[in-house]
Amino acid sequence: MTDKQTVDTAIQYQSKLFVPQASSRPETTPDFSHIEIPSPIASQRPDVLSEAVDIQDLAYGLVRVLGDDHLVAGPWAPDLSADKLLLGLRHMMHVRAFDNRMFKMQRQGKLSFYMKCTGEEAVAVAQGMALKSSDMLFPSYRQQGLLFVREHSIVDMMCQCLSNAKDNIKGRQMPIFYSSKKHNFFSLSGNLATQYSQAVGWGMASAYKGEDQVAVSWVGDGTTAAADVYHALVFGSTYKAPVILNVVNNQWAISTPQSFASTGSTFAARSIGLSIPGIRVDGNDFLAIYAVTQWAAERARKGGGPTFIELYTYRTEGHSTSDNPDAYRGKNEANFWPLGDPIDRLKQHLIAIGQWSEEQHQALQSELTDDITKDWKEALAHGSLDNGPHWPVTSMFEDVFKEMPPHLVKQSKQIGA
């Protein structure tokens, strides 16, 4: 086709290429009626050392604990005190209050960027609570809830988002790319999926040293297509690494529906052929997530190797502050999501078992919102992206290497000149 003449404009193809479809687009009405929602008693809870292929029904089903009546049922019901449940509720509400505030602050120009996890709070909070604090977390960018569970300072999280002088990563990364060694929370990367195989390596090292810690990682539905996800499955299984590999299927990857990654199957099913149990769990059911995570952690600690967990949930809001979902999905698609909202479902459960009330809920909501407002003021006092104070500019040249080599010393001198 180098010159015009060779273009055969007469060619008209009758394409037979299959292209997946979306759950909805702005011009269509959302419809999730095809989603089968089994009852909590429908799923078995097998021995933690079962063979993947023998328990493959768990990959095609949906583990649930909270029924439509807001009560617990079925073999997966975890042994959780009301206090723990209330703590979980509190964390989820706290995360949401945080997200809402930060999103607004981005809109007001205080932050360069923000990402919420609205509708998915149960994932990080329930999983975080089901793990030991010595377990190592390799999150993607929507598991801020883990930091709440591990009692990371909220002010410090805000300082990271503000890239101010108190930002523990020295203004180097975009908002929400937290890192906290103290909390066994790995440094977030902007490159999707890379942390997944790293988690497997971390777990391998744990086994190598004869230790008991488990590594836990998360990717989104869209990210499952990445090479590192496969690497994690292959290496994790080959060396029976003590890891929990989670897929947060929130139905969308920016504008791309999960159908471009799921290949018409469940994500959980993908690991079975690699001898890793796949479990699909209601991602908005705090108790089910907790129970499945506990199962996987026990399997890992007993030497059974990885578990692949698909958390079936929904990204209620936009991908990030950079995006408007109305441009690519049906209006209010979130309202059609059949598995409800994780906070609301846990709240209803606690009310149903007499441990909570609407009034208490409102009060807690106000308390948390106020806390966040207070925290935000404190964080801002440490500086903001636009107005500083920041870390000194020359700090940019630190940590490229452990000790600064001559060429960076030279450059750090030039920057002031």
Binding site: T2, Q173, G190, S255, S322, M396
Partner: protein, 338 residues
């Protein structure tokens, strides 16, 4: 002639090529229904259908692998890498396969793939939404590497790239999608519609790959750059009053050494500017060739003004960015010596 920003110009280039040749398609993450996170493929889905504005799973390596296969089977895929920072998972397919296929098969096979990748900083994207990795690709034999600096040329170069039978990697400096950016972050950005190179014909036209452009004639010093830095250098020249000759490379590989040579042999001084990190950046190759070709004409050391050898920082975009001031200082240093 229409007024177009760079996004519209790129879009127009793809539209025209898709319209003329059913073998042309665009593919990548979010490029279909949504039209791309930077909107470069906006409207193509509607006009040409889901199979020609093809959304793809998030696996740059997979996208590149299938693009090569498509190219071998007669298609001309235009792949969008959402951010050039995410091109690394595809490097094996690009460098080991795409770049070498024609050669290793004795000329039997080739894949005319175009890879479009927004690059460079300026959107407060931190280290994973700001990189300028063009240097790496210039080291791989068999790839053409292009980086336009304005809508008019972006369109002409992209059409040329799509119609080229060699693979072309086409970097788009995202900071200037909407308007030229002269490096002064306190000044309101001017949109392309106030710029002469924002005048873009609606029709098909090409700008030859492999040809640099002398943007500003001058006699004292040659400034060689490409992409966004063209505008910063231009402003530095204007504001400093230095009589510099400004070369916009437009194509990195094949490098238009003749244009460079003619200029530096005239001026005897040279400053190379890019946003990518210094060490082993493409500036090193430019400097080397200038040194090799113009040594006896040089009156001062060739200078490089580039990003620092650190990951792109979120908080210090302006300090990181090769500023007008740094370019001016470099020009002045070359002028100091006699």
């Amino acid at each position: 002639m229409a007024k177009m920003n760079m996004i519209q110009a790129l879009n127009s280039a793809m539209d025209i090529c898709m319209d003329r040749d059913p073998n042309v398609l665009v593919m990548g993450e979010d490029v279909g229904y949504f039209g791309g996170v930077f909107r470069c493929t906006d409207g193509l889905y509607k006009k040409y259908g889901p199979h020609r504005a093809l959304d793809m799973p998030i696996a740059e390596g997979g996208i590149m692998g299938v693009a090569i296969g498509m190219g071998v089977n007669g298609l001309r895929p235009i792949v969008e890498i959402q951010f050039s920072d995410y091109i690394y998972p595809a490097i094996d397919q690009i460098v080991s396969e795409l770049a070498r296929l024609r050669h290793r098969s004795g000329g039997e096979y080739f894949a005319p793939v175009v890879i479009r990748a927004p690059c460079g900083g300026g959107i407060r994207g931190g280290q994973t939404h700001s990189q300028s990795p063009e240097g790496i690709f210039t080291h791989a034999c068999g790839l053409k590497t292009v980086m336009p600096s304005n809508p008019y040329e972006a369109k002409g170069l992209l059409i040329a790239a799509i119609e080229d039978d060699d693979p072309v990697i086409f970097f788009e400096p995202k900071r200037i999608y909407n308007g030229p950016f002269d490096g002064d972050h306190d000044k309101a950005a001017s949109p392309w519609n106030t710029h002469p190179l924002g005048e873009v014909p609606e029709e098909h036209y090409k700008i030859e790959i492999g040809k640099a452009k002398v943007l500003e004639p001058g006699s004292q010093v040659t400034v060689i750059t490409y992409g966004n830095m063209v505008h910063v250098a231009q402003a530095a020249i204007k504001n400093s009053g230095i009589d510099a000759e400004l070369i916009d490379l437009r194509t990195l590989i094949p490098l238009d050494i003749d244009t460079i040579k003619a200029s530096v042999q005239k001026t005897g001084r040279c400053v190379v500017v890019h946003e990518a990190t210094l060490t082993s950046g493409f500036g090193a190759e430019i400097l080397s060739q200038v040194q090799e070709e113009c040594f006896w004409h040089l009156k001062a050391p060739i200078e490089r003004v580039t990003g620092w050898d650190t990951p792109y920082p979120h908080a210090f975009e302006w300090e990181y960015f090769p500023s007008q001031k740094r370019i001016t200082q470099a020009m002045l240093r070359t002028l100091e010596s006699n």
